[in-house]
Symmetry: none
Subunit: 195 residues, 4 copies
Amino acid sequence: MTKSQGGPGRPRSEAAEKAILDSTLKLLAELGYGGLTMDKVAADAKVSKATMYRRWPSKVHLVIAAFSQLPELPSPDTGAIRTDLIQVLESFLTITENTPLAGVLPTLAGERARTPELSDYLDKATRQRRKPVKQMLERAVRRGELPGSTDIELAVDMVMSPLVMRIFFTNNPADMEFLKQVVETALRGLGWQSE
Amino acid sequence: MTKSQGGPGRPRSEAAEKAILDSTLKLLAELGYGGLTMDKVAADAKVSKATMYRRWPSKVHLVIAAFSQLPELPSPDTGAIRTDLIQVLESFLTITENTPLAGVLPTLAGERARTPELSDYLDKATRQRRKPVKQMLERAVRRGELPGSTDIELAVDMVMSPLVMRIFFTNNPADMEFLKQVVETALRGLGWQSE
Amino acid sequence: MTKSQGGPGRPRSEAAEKAILDSTLKLLAELGYGGLTMDKVAADAKVSKATMYRRWPSKVHLVIAAFSQLPELPSPDTGAIRTDLIQVLESFLTITENTPLAGVLPTLAGERARTPELSDYLDKATRQRRKPVKQMLERAVRRGELPGSTDIELAVDMVMSPLVMRIFFTNNPADMEFLKQVVETALRGLGWQSE
Amino acid sequence: MTKSQGGPGRPRSEAAEKAILDSTLKLLAELGYGGLTMDKVAADAKVSKATMYRRWPSKVHLVIAAFSQLPELPSPDTGAIRTDLIQVLESFLTITENTPLAGVLPTLAGERARTPELSDYLDKATRQRRKPVKQMLERAVRRGELPGSTDIELAVDMVMSPLVMRIFFTNNPADMEFLKQVVETALRGLGWQSE
DNA sequence: CAGTAATCGAGACGGTACGTCCCGTCTTTAT
DNA sequence: ATAAAGACGGGACGTACCGTCTCGATTACTG
């Protein structure tokens, strides 16, 4: 995927690439996945469609790439895993509830089911979203708040997925109350030793 | 939504309705949501598109209706919540991994984000999928395996959502090993008293 | 190609068909073949592109169909073949020189060379353009101005093609002077007996 | 248009120029005008597009240039205008019917209608194609087969254009039979005195 | 003999048309 | 009134081509 730099021919414009991804994110936030159009992106980024298709073979690929560009969640370090998690998940909640970006993720997951080739590509983006939580949990293990034997991936799933579930799939409220209960239930299940 | 039968005019064909839903499920399993076309369903069910749109106002509505037709998960009662859950989630895993039906759900969730009116409609389908697990947990509370104060909805989320997460959003394996760990971690977090 | 009327299903709109052909001719006259766009036609005729492609499989087909709609050349009957021909050819000259429609014909001929399937389709349009001249010549034979053995198709070619040649392929002027010389030379060659 | 040789900088490659024109003719014969692509020519001639556009400002210019490279028609001198013409027109017929090159000319004529600037450029090519016929007719005038007052340009049109007409615009056969009739009719019209 | 300048292949770029596809609606005739 | 059949408006998708533009690398004339 990376272009062997230094080869013959005009190099691909990094400016164009950035402009496309920026426009994609902007329009995605305004219009959601379904409202986003390749032509609209091209117009907004002042770029031709060919330039887009040269980099990403379809709309889905482009959107995933744009997603991967999103800034990481802020990852506070309060010294206690419980408050760390509550804070990071609260940001997660806020962001997801205030932009149409939220609805994009399930759509991408749906496309992934049809196009296995997208799997790895999308996974990269997902892993990035999980990263701050993962780091917190690793710190907690080092601090002794969680057992050394803790399965980190499992732990991430235990605390994040109930939120994701409510946000994307059900009508049940995903509020601060629920968030705290999830964190406490999960931590207790993981063998948490509060200080 | 139901037509008052007995009025003038030809009554709606129940056979057509069934044929449409069957074709929808069949094509959904073969092609996924994106590959499914109203024309293809009409052709497969030997039905006109008007007949479809007379019953459901859009493709999403039709797909959700077809989904709601899926049989409930088998809900064993072994007497112990741990084994109950493991069994029902194993069925869930098997079904979801062997049909493209899996990919449909996230897509529907994505549409829901864009069309709030779908929320309730989709929620009905989701609740049905959660029902067996919910019943198990209620039995466990009655048996004293779980505290009387248990928040059942939270409990359902705690055990089901990590699986859903892995199946839909990540490449991490959702296998029996993982399933058992989720059940145990969640139960422990919920204050489970094994017998 | 003709639709069996009376079958099931919504019949094709004759109004749409007419609107499309009219818009095509209008835009063809304004913009020429290269400037004509399927989207522009659709917009001007207030019709969807699907409606166009349902009738004609490509831009070339549409343009030929529109051409076939052009009104026949006025076909005066002065009683003398020489003046008949001069008048009809003068109209031909005037029309061809005052609209971009002229340039369209060679382009169509070029496409025909690439797509033999267009041959018959285009030929229909061409024959119509030749028709008035043909009728004049037939009248002249009946009147005895031309021999009974006259090959009419050859005769049409002899009088029309030098004009076409100059108009489309060369810079030589195609003026009244030239026109008259062509008519006289051709008639003499065909064994014309002036009264 | 010609670069003043001797200036500074790398001189233009004559090999490249030849390769481009050769590839153009080759591809033109295979694919016709519409199927010819600047990229295909570049690839076939192992040349960059810039090298092409440095020499000819557009695809049409290039194609016309390639056309002008075609060898002149063989111009026999049998001593009798009738047989001279029949022979040269037979060659013309053979060439035009056996290559898609035929279809190119009308297309160019179509472009000419849209781009007047092409007129002179294309005219040069056309004049070359007419040259042998013109020379024959001039010889015939000198020999006394045709009147001294003969308008040569008119005469060329009278004998060549009916053939061109049939080849390019109609389905009527352009065979030897037709060819002979055209020649005889035209010559008679022009006041031909057979020996 | 170093420097300058136009050329070369390769290939990206903006713009724009094409033809295909699908959704949800509408218009026929037949039950 | 409903059914099958299928046309309709609208609009996005992905492909293709033109003519322009940047690269780094040659290849000549010039100072």
